[in-house]
Symmetry: C2
Subunit: 134 residues, 2 copies
DNA sequence: CCTTGACTTGAACCGCACTTCAAGTCAAGG
DNA sequence: CCTTGACTTGAAGTGCGGTTCAAGTCAAGG
């Protein structure tokens, strides 16, 4: 257990997040400082891992409240787990969609259609998702 | 060529987007009405396809200005194509990340760690991306 | 002791993507 | 002709995810 605490400035530097963002996350309950160094927030090293998870989930389209919920998740909370299962389906669908979009963008690099978006191969990206309305 | 125009209300219904959003997209130059039915905007059926592309790209993390740019893209615009190639790399990275996150969420459904986020298998999602800073 | 510089706070502000509002207009139906 | 209801406009408002600001505080170094 490495319990050397890290000042907010260094956490900011190492996580790539602004210090203001870290304070914002603290207000939202996503992270917490273990102590203070004078006035300065000091964080446990594990906080860096947690920040990676937060960034990852945020990039995946989770809102900060959803992330807070995810961080609190315990195996006994079946209702929450059901929502996570829903999230999984959502993410899976996004993976499919993004994969198609990536392929379209890849094709755009060599395509000669004018304009590019009229290319039938490009349009493959936007195939309607079967039935995920409401 | 089916050139029957469609009223904004029906486009909204069929695309799943609010009419206010369609007007907003028009102001941003993403779509345009082909004519009017009285005051009512009337769109060509192809607009529905375009709206699917817009929704897809928006979900993929493109801003509306980036989408406008994408819609205007022509094969001769090499600078823009270079940016699209950059976007492709970005999307590819997101696909990887989302795939890991999806697997973690899938695992969360059966995992007994308390709290769930402490599960080593779950943490696999947040593996640091090699070197894509700056 | 005094400066420096990185932090502290709450509150205000920002950009994005829309939505909502108030007041007005039009086409169709009775 | 009058109502109804879906549209029109520009302007203001909303929610999210932060950033920026002003005024203050602390620890370390000279």
């Amino acid at each position: 257990m490495d319990d050397t605490l890290i000042d907010i400035g260094e956490v900011a530097r190492r996580s790539g997040l602004a210090a203001s963002a870290l304070r914002f996350y603290e207000r939202k309950g996503l992270i917490q400082a273990e102590g203070r160094n004078g006035l300065r927030r000091a964080y446990r090293p594990q906080t860096l891992e947690r920040l990676d998870l937060i960034s990852c989930a945020r990039d995946a389209g989770f809102t900060l409240s959803e992330i807070a919920e995810l961080l609190r998740a315990r195996p006994s909370d079946t209702e929450l787990r059901a929502r996570l299962a829903g999230k999984e389906r959502e993410v899976a669908e996004r993976v499919d969609q993004l994969t198609r979009l990536r392929d379209s963008l890849r094709h755009a690099a060599v395509c000669e259609h004018d304009p590019l978006v009229e290319c039938p191969e490009f349009k493959h990206a936007v195939r309607r998702v079967p039935v995920t309305r409401s």
